[in-house]
């Protein structure tokens, strides 16, 4: 379907994920024991035979660039089409960051027009779902729509997280952005299909007059003009923008529903890492967990997700936790309800995290306005931080990245102090 191109918005900071997004774009956050969040959207594209893909990045794009590379993992290293990462750049007359989602599109208009495609899918790089865009594209064609958006029924209590819509047949008649209360039950999923010419025309109208948001400044007016149709999607879909939803969505993939990742007809592709198969030692005991290649397990692991290359030493206990690549839990250490970022080291006999879920404020990063909350009693340790042997902290905590053992011992980098 070369008549469709995809424009993936992957510039978001994801402040509510705290220290996890300190060094990476939200779309590059690790997920599901092996993937990055953007893998779902990119895999949906290629599984739907959309091979013209642009990714607009801005915040901490390195991890994203490294992960995507030339797009080989998705077969997007192509002669015709393929993947292209669009970063802000300086021009003769303007040298600005992307000021909003519509601005990101507008600044790349030449790319949007370069391939003369009939339709443009505007997608988010930070959602977990598996969808065949082909069905939406067919509906769009059949109805000769200008805009089609994917919607899904949600609980009334969730309305404040979504753009809520009402429909008449397939036509969207109302759109309320993140209402606290509403009688609308269909949520917009941030999956938009535009007639390319229509998109370009609207961008020309809106952006030069100082309006930069795709939803507020383009979509809602388009609804008013009666130009927007809805496509109902009933499958699993989750925006993992908050710590708790990230944690719970990750763990919903634990064995009971592992079929989601195992489905081989519509695989989720990702960049492969060269690692040997996982090694289970003679003293290992593992239950209800996801274990990736390259792990070495000599201790006890339950209800947890282990990314490639994780080490769990003898006598160590890991419960209800998510351990990113190459995190190490040394002998007799205990880790409960923790998210350990890449290469975090938990020293011998250290105890981290609390047993039960509870509400807590985890603090915020120094350069951020957003105070990170948890209702799950989570502890989050930033990338490459080293927890000293014997260290104990049994309350929900967020520690900064790159901390030395001494710093941790002295309480430096405990973010709950920052602006709390």
């Amino acid at each position: 379907m070369s008549s469709v191109q995809a424009f993936v918005l992957a510039g978001g900071r994801g402040d509510r994920l705290g220290v996890i997004t300190k060094h990476r774009a939200k779309a590059a956050v690790p997920f599901g024991g092996r993937y990055r969040i953007i893998d779902f959207t990119l895999s949906n594209c290629v599984n739907s035979r959309v091979h013209n893909v642009y990714v607009a990045a801005q915040y901490a794009p390195r991890s994203l660039q490294e992960h995507i590379g030339l797009g080989r993992a998705w077969d997007l290293d192509r002669r015709d089409g393929g993947i292209c990462i669009l970063l802000p750049y300086t021009g003769r007359t303007d040298s600005l960051w992307y000021r909003g989602t519509a601005d990101a599109l507008h600044r790349n208009l030449d790319m949007l027009l370069a391939r003369d495609t009939e339709m443009t899918l505007v997608l988010s790089g930070d959602q977990v779902y598996r969808m065949n865009y082909g069905e939406m594209i067919r509906q769009h064609r059949r109805n000769r729509s200008r805009v089609t958006i994917a919607v899904k029924p949600v609980d009334a209590t969730d309305s404040a997280r979504f753009g809520m819509v009402s429909v008449d047949g397939t036509r969207v008649t109302r759109f309320e952005e993140k209402p606290e209360t509403t009688d609308l039950r269909l949520a917009s999923l941030g999956i938009y299909l535009f007639e390319t010419q229509y998109l370009v025309r609207r961008l020309h109208e809106v952006v030069p007059s100082g309006h930069y948001d795709l939803v507020l400044d383009m979509l809602i007016p388009a609804v008013r003009d009666g130009d927007v149709a809805a496509h109902i999607f009933e499958g699993f879909w989750e925006d993992v923008g908050e710590l708790d939803t990230f944690y719970n969505t990750s763990r919903s993939l634990l064995p009971a529903s592992s079929a989601y990742l195992m489905d081989r007809r519509r695989p989720i592709y990702t960049r492969s890492e060269e690692r040997p198969p996982a090694k289970f030692g003679a003293t290992a005991s593992v239950a209800n967990s996801v274990v990736a290649n390259g792990c070495r397990i000599f201790g006890h692991v339950e209800r947890s997700i282990l990314f490639p290359g994780v080490l769990v030493g003898e006598g160590a206990v890991v419960r209800d936790s998510i351990l990113f690549s190459e995190a190490s839990v040394y002998r007799h250490a205990r880790v409960t309800r923790c998210i350990l970022d890449k290469r975090v080291v938990i020293g011998d006999g250290a105890v981290l995290g609390q047993e039960d879920a509870s509400e807590a404020v985890l603090g915020r990063l120094a350069d951020s306005e957003v105070l990170v909350h948890t209702h799950e009693g989570l502890t989050v340790i930033g990338k490459e931080t080293r927890i000293p042997p014997g260290f104990e902290c049994r309350r929900p905590t967020m520690l900064d990245s790159m901390l030395s053992e001494d710093a941790v011992r002295q309480g430096i980098g405990d973010l709950s102090g920052v602006g709390a």
Partner: protein, 426 residues
């Protein structure tokens, strides 16, 4: 090392690997979960900086060619050098299959002649080891040898399976005996040779007239002793020729234990292979996994002990897999037992079946020399019915289905063949 050509011999039948190599070349046999045996030699080449590689194929090369492809996982898809397959071919001056390991090179002598390389490195595609060939080449050049052969100490009782090298104090080879009954040394040739290119061409041209089945171990190496300077290069690490079902099983077990003899968790020397896209492994709450190696994509609800599982293996609740190797996408149904088995790809083992349980321990009737060490081998895509019992030293043909199992209990040493496998029973 762009001044060295590498020739990897991957044409052998490997008949002592039983059904594992009946439909694929030995170097293409899956090993250690996600790898093929050939990955070790290819990884050694690229980590040592050798990028001009020729693969001499003959026996059932399809799976090998598919696996290696253009060489992408090893960064061998490159403008200069890379990996090329030298298949037997027809030409104006007749056509023939390769008669022996060195004959394969004789028939591609033009490649050697047109090369600009100074030396030729000759390897086997069916050895498991991690070796830096750069050091070997440096020693070869420093000593100005015409031929340097790599040698490793083996147990005295196994010397009769190897080419045995006798050296003087300087490491010069003074005698070479191919598979001697009474060995004078326990230093075995690993089948890893570096020749100066010119002397190699000369000796191949000289010997080919009288030897249609020219072999490196039998013919070329002994002849070199009287014609040039032949030195040894001692190798001290892990090295295993995966020549038989028994050595395959041993090498697999060498991956296990807290201090494994064969360590794949070597940050400096990650073995490279063609990656398949699989989700991580799921270990259910009913599972027990100990002392095992598990590749991505498995779903484990049962018990796995002392075993190596390839990608996508399913072990259902109440099933037990012990001291076995299960290749890609095998399924072990509820309550089944698999013990001391090597199970090829996509085999389905029915519920409450018991495979590999020893009775009188009789050697296999069809392959008594190969299957006599208490290991049962199941060929790929076989389907073993529920409640079936299969003894030890058994062979189950590839594609065997439920109707091929006439008896509920296959005694030790049984060879179950089926017409579905479309190849002659040896």
């Amino acid at each position: 090392m762009s001044d060295t050509d590498v020739f990897i011999l991957v044409g052998g039948q490997g008949s002592r690997l039983s059904v594992l190599s009946e439909h694929r070349a030995k170097p293409a046999v899956p090993f250690a979960g996600k790898y093929r045996i050939i990955d070790f030699a290819l990884t050694n080449c690229v980590y040592s900086g050798f990028f001009h590689i020729y693969m001499l194929t003959q026996y059932r090369p399809r799976s090998l060619v598919e696996h290696v492809g253009a060489g992408k996982p090893w960064d061998l898809d490159r403008k200069w050098g890379g990996v090329a397959f030298l298949h037997p071919q027809q030409s104006f001056d007749g056509s023939s299959w390769y008669g022996g390991t060195a004959d394969a090179l004789v028939q591609n002598l033009d490649v050697l002649q047109h090369s600009q390389a100074e030396d030729a490195l000759i390897l086997s595609g069916d050895h498991v080891y991690k070796m830096n060939y750069e050091w070997l080449l440096r020693a070869h050049r420093e000593r100005g040898s015409d031929l340097t052969l790599c040698a490793v100490e083996v147990p005295w009782e196994e010397t009769r399976h190897f080419g045995i090298v006798v050296t003087d104090d300087s490491g010069r080879v003074i005698e070479f005996e191919e598979k001697p009954v009474q060995a004078q040394s326990n230093l075995a040739s690993m089948g890893v040779y570096v020749f100066k290119r010119e002397p190699l061409i000369r000796i191949l041209q000289e010997l080919q007239r009288d030897h249609p089945n020219l072999d490196f171990g039998k013919d070329v190496i002994p002849a070199m002793l009287s014609r040039g300077n032949v030195m040894t290069y001692r190798y001290g690490g892990y090295w295993l020729d995966i020549g038989s079902v028994h050595s395959y099983h041993n090498a697999s077990m060498d991956l296990l234990g807290n201090e494994p003899r064969l360590n794949l968790f070597d940050g400096q020397w990650h073995v490279l292979t063609t990656e398949h896209n699989r989700p991580p492994t799921c270990v259910e709450s009913s599972a027990r996994v100990r002392d095992s190696m598990i590749t991505d994509g498995c779903q484990i609800s049962g018990e796995v002990v002392g075993s190596v599982l390839g990608p996508g293996v399913v072990v259902e609740e109440g099933a037990r897999v012990e001291h076995s190797v299960l290749m890609d996408d095998c399924v072990v149904r509820r309550g089944a037992l698999v013990t001391r088995c090597i199970v090829d790809k996509r085999v389905k083992i029915g519920s409450r079946a018991q495979i590999g349980v020893a009775g009188d321990g009789r050697a296999n009737l069809e392959q008594p020399e190969v299957l006599r060490y208490g290991i049962t081998v199941v060929g790929k895509d076989a389907r073993i019915p529920a409640h079936q019992v299969v003894g030890t030293n058994c062979l189950v043909d590839m594609l065997a289905g439920p109707d091929d199992f006439a008896q509920r209990h296959l005694a030790d040493g049984t060879a179950l063949r089926t017409e579905r496998s479309h190849h002659p029973v040896r």
